[in-house]
Amino acid sequence: MQLIKKLFYKIARKLFNSFKDLIPIVLVVSFFQFIVLRQPFPDLMGILVGLFFVVVGLMLFVEGLELGLFPIGEMLAQSLAKKGSLFWLLTFAFVLGFSTTIAEPALIAIASKAADVNETAGLLAADEKDNYALGLRISVAISVGLAILIGVFRIIKGWPIYYLIIGGYILVLIMTTFAPKEIIGLAYDAGGVTTSTITVPLVTALGVGLATVIKGRNPLTDGFGLISFASLLPMIFVMAYGVYFYR
């Protein structure tokens, strides 16, 4: 009985913690609905049920993160670093980036939307659309794989991150001048949609884990940065894809 009570309190506290994350959304949406637009909510019951799901989902996700995703990322980083095989470590990095991106729903959505835009603009024949969207997805997935690979290599070598990022920015700017106008907005966005909710914790744990195990690396200074590469490289690759496709 005591145990059940304790467990109940624990869960209630965790649920409340997740609810705290949602308070801003609730306040903002209510403010606009009641004060600015002056309307009642259309389906209040549905919204409340949905809100409850979001809270439960957030709680489960954060718990699962600490139990599963974080430890496995760190364990793999440690075992691979101990094994001392650069080949397998880099292979892991590339495949992790590639495989999580190619199946990413946000990317699939944005690629097919881009194909539609190009078709309506008369740049693309209807039968080329699927090819175009697939090519786009593959180039983004390859770029994310490469980004994680380069990021892992950087941690091993201990290169300062800002040189790479600034170099990347310069490349983006150069590509922007070459790339066809139609693809620039899409390319800039492609960087943002690649990093999903499952990839981010895993990749962060991988980077921090590596920087912890490798001698002379500081997890704070060297461990972060993988995600920033994964948002930067797709921009360059998508613009390159645009140059290749239109010219």
Binding site: P24, V28, T100, G185, G192, V193, F224, I227
Partner: protein, 257 residues
């Protein structure tokens, strides 16, 4: 009944999304590392919780937030609403002030709820030995994201080209990078990419679409792009600024002593 079907589809999607990761881990654990997984039951339980958590999370968002957000974005950018809330007869870029405010606030609040950001904040707090406060980091990132969304709305209304804003923000990041303490730059750069996943992207897209379909001379499909890029950029600036601010405080304290 429809709920069960929705649940099943979401669950299936989430499983599909996590499948490559699981296969990759299994392959590396058994073929490359050749050691049994440590704490296997705990890790598996963690993965199951992540899958169920994301399923409920997405399902709830689809029920509670996305429809409301979409309707709101549409109503706030509605021409009648703009005219009714306008101070003068002419429609200027500032006639859309409610939508700027909405974009800023909704960008801020959805970023606070973004699970990827929570993950990075947990790690950053852990790695820095508690030096980096989780809530301060999350609020800083959210401020950047909110500002970016408002700016994105402004961009659609005025038609400022996307690359101008991107180039200017690159220059700002560059200057900040030169002056900031290098320990935290990696984290700052990362905080750009984590803001845009499950919660923010659909809302961002609905604001972009809603606005570009009513403003004259905008193409909804073309101008809808580019919003996410800004939301990726400005948290970097705000986190770098936050780090500089903290350094300044430490410096001032030292001087006083």
């Amino acid at each position: 009944m429809t709920f069960l079907i929705d649940f099943f589809f979401r669950f299936f999607d989430t499983c599909l999304a996590i499948l490559p990761v699981v296969l990759l881990i299994i392959f590396f654990q058994f073929v490359v590392i050749k050691k049994p997984l440590r704490d296997a039951p705990k890790v598996i339980l963690g993965f199951v919780m992540v899958v169920f958590g994301l399923t409920f999370f997405l399902l709830g968002l689809e029920k509670a937030l996305f429809p409301v957000g979409e309707i709101m974005a549409k109503q706030l950018s509605n021409t009648e609403f703009i005219i009714a809330s306008n101070f003068s007869d002419e429609i200027n870029w500032y006639s859309y002030y409610w939508i700027y405010l909405f974009a800023a606030l909704i960008g801020f609040s959805t970023t606070i709820a973004e699970p990827s950001l929570t993950a990075v904040a947990i790690k950053a707090n852990e790695v820095s030995g508690g030096l980096l406060n989780m809530w301060q980091l999350r609020i800083t990132v959210a401020v950047g994201a909110g500002f970016a969304l408002a700016l994105g709305a402004f961009r659609i209304v005025t038609g400022v080209p996307l690359y101008t804003i991107i180039i200017v923000s690159y220059v700002i990041v560059l200057i900040q990078t030169i002056f900031v303490k290098k320990d935290f730059v990696g984290l700052a750069y990362d905080s750009g990419g984590v803001t845009t996943s499950t919660v923010t992207v659909p809302i961002v897209v609905s604001i972009g679409l809603g606005l570009s379909s009513v403003v004259e001379g905008r193409d909804p499909v073309l101008d809808g792009f580019g919003m996410i890029a800004l939301v990726c950029m400005f948290p970097i600036i705000s986190v770098l600024a936050y780090i500089q601010f903290m350094e300044l405080i430490v410096l001032l304290k030292k001087k006083r002593k």
